[in-house]
Amino acid sequence: MQSQRELCSFPIAPSHKSKLTSAGFLITEDLKHLKPSELSKETGIGLEECLEILKLVCSESVDGSKRNEAPKPAVSALERLKEEQSLPPIITFSEGLDNMLGGGVPLCKITEFCGAPGVGKTQMCMQIAVDVQIPSQFGGLQGEAVYIDTEGSFIVERLVDIAKATVDHCNEMARLEGFKEGEITVESVLSGVHFYRCHDYVELLATVHLLPEFIKKHPKIKVVLVDSVAFHFRHDFDDLSLRTRLLTTMAQSFIKLATEFKIAIVLTNQMTTKFSPGEDSRLVPALGESWGHASTIRVILYWEGQKRWAWLYKSPSKKESRVPYQITMGGVRDIVTFPADNSNDQSDDEPSSKRQKVS
């Protein structure tokens, strides 16, 4: 029973595969200690292709993946637990949301926010892009963010508002605990957000493909945000199987990115109305059923009357739960339930003097 790996389980062009099998090369053992010239003479494949096949099959460290790094060794769950506990999540300023997500947006995972129009998906992304840069003495990651915008709904002035609110908040906390102020400024926050504007799905694919090199060049990046991964895939896509294939491949490269560089991936998705026979039409996340499996954690943001709710719909480690939140001038905040505080929040007209709930 040969325990060697068959050649056809490697990414080799079909025409080369047939030449290899007809020449009698079936398992990796056959190609051991063979020079490209010999292989080319025997099978009639071009010299460069022979070199690539030998490089692919024979060097144990090289496997079929895109980058030539060795396959990750088996890690015991204990080390994984230590690693998971050592990576602090990205805290947002709404305590309810943080507790629901288990401390904040976790690293090494794909978190997806699906939401109806105007419920605050873009606000959430901007809030996370700013929160990732909170200095470490306040429990932040002091990292940078990559913001990929496909919808064109990114208004830099809004980012300035959120950044200002966060900077004031941090300085306020610094004063209380006697740290040095000015650790974080609006300029440092703005220069920490790397912005890509993708006009169609091909540019999005290209950006995602080049992200590993980009992150290697900017090691401080801790979160990649894609605002509305659905926008370019929802209209004028005639071939649905191509769409699903592209989406699954992109999801796999996202999760590879997340685990390889220990960063968080945050996606937003739109909602669409589903007319299923029998029940009345209801809102479901866009991009169909098969996309749902791609994200590790899925949070559905929806309206109930005047209130905005976040519903943890899918999570490997947290129970299903819902928490209200609100969008203020300073960004995404908790709705603190004792009424006194709630009402004056609403009527306060001047945006800048908005009091933040200390998280």
Partner: protein
């Protein structure tokens, strides 16, 4: 950009490019939307050449990366990033007015002032820079043939008497407003596709599409079923084109939308005293949920009582839910002093709109 020809990528070797064209993979889009296995089968190269090819194509069409700071400084040098609407309360909340480079929608019941608003904005756009204008031409795409040149002139005369006191000033201003009539969706979409050189040749600084909903609701029935999907696709294509123009030329694009009646349970804590005479249905913005995604800012006009009207900021990336009263005067839309303030907003797709159902003389 994605349709970049493979031939223009110099770093690819000759036989790679030749084999690509033999399999009619011409643009980066063809290469990038195929999986590794497909490329292996079509091209017959080794896996590392395929990875290198994908790398080169990605580098060729990846958008340029800028940081938030660069964006802010670029926006500051530009001709100001917001287009003033002359409603000072609204401008204040929207950080200076209608944001440039995005699509803004003005929705409301018929006769509530949508076209008046657009006409006033057209006048505003032709003003010189120091007066808050855009010093450029306006492209007014009218599908309901509701645009009236007299109203345009009347607003200009009364709003800016010092600028437009003479006859030929008014004529010059009127020439800057190019009105385009469209009766069918096909002609509208054709125009949108050829909009780019139109904007360049006439140096257009403001694009208005009056009632994007009327043509669509005429040609696609909104009942559930297949052509609803076509309708959504058509609208999304329109939105993509408009967004592209708005961003590339950094100009405001304004579309108007109509209202529709929705049945079924509306918001739960709807305040009781707002009883509407219609059955339990409620009135909201038309064209449904997917269209609401495509719009960045949504202003809803509604009736308050007989004479007064109200503009709601229903969806905006920068402003909270705020409402301002206004009345229509000879010099266009004028904001009332009192009555400004926050309102408890909800999903812009289902925001309830008050309509004037009974005739004014009836409820004196």
């Amino acid at each position: 950009m994605s349709s970049k020809k493979i031939r223009r990528i110099r770093s690819l070797s000759v036989d790679v490019v030749e084999r690509l064209t033999k399999n009619n993979l011409i643009t980066c889009k063809d290469v990038l939307s195929r999986s590794d296995l497909e490329l292996l089968k079509l091209l017959g190269f080794g896996i590392f050449t395929i990875h290198n090819l994908r790398q080169q194509c990605s580098l060729a069409c990846v958008p340029v990366c800028t940081t938030g700071l660069e964006l802010l400084t670029k926006r500051k040098q530009g001709t100001g990033q917001f287009f003033q609407t002359s409603l000072h309360g609204l401008d204040h909340v929207l950080h200076g007015g209608i944001p440039m480079g995005t699509v803004t929608e003005i929705a409301g019941p018929s006769g509530c002032g949508k076209t008046q608003f657009c006409t006033m904005l057209s006048v505003q756009a032709t003003l010189p820079g120091n007066r808050g204008g855009l010093e450029g031409k306006v492209l007014y795409m009218d599908t309901e043939s509701a645009f009236s040149a007299e109203r345009l002139v009347e607003i200009a005369q009364h709003k800016f008497p010092d600028l437009y006191n003479s006859e030929e000033d008014l004529c010059r201003m009127a020439e800057n407003v190019l009105v385009d009539n469209h009766q069918t969706c096909a002609s509208l979409i054709k125009k949108l596709e050829s909009l780019e050189e139109e904007v360049i040749t006439h140096r257009i600084r403001l694009v208005i599409v009056d009632s994007i909903a009327s043509l669509v609701r005429k040609e696609f029935s909104s009942s559930a079923g297949s052509n609803l999907v076509q309708r959504t696709n058509f609208l999304s294509r329109q939105a993509a084109l408009l967004k592209y123009i708005a961003e590339v030329f950094c100009i405001p694009v304004i579309v108007t939308n109509q209202i529709t009646t929705r049945f079924g349970r509306q918001a739960t804590e709807q305040d009781e005293e707002e009883t509407t005479e219609i059955s339990d249905g409620y009135v909201t913005v038309a064209l449904g949920n997917t269209w609401s995604h495509n719009v960045n800012t949504r202003l809803i006009l509604q009736y308050l009582d007989g004479e007064k009207r109200q503009v709601l900021v229903a969806k905006s990336p920068v402003a909270p839910f705020t409402a301002f009263n206004y009345t229509i005067q000879r010099d266009g839309i004028v904001q009332d002093e009192e009555g400004a303030g926050l309102y408890a907003g909800t999903d812009p797709g289902v925001q309830q709109i008050n309509v004037r159902t009974s005739l004014p003389f009836y409820n004196t």
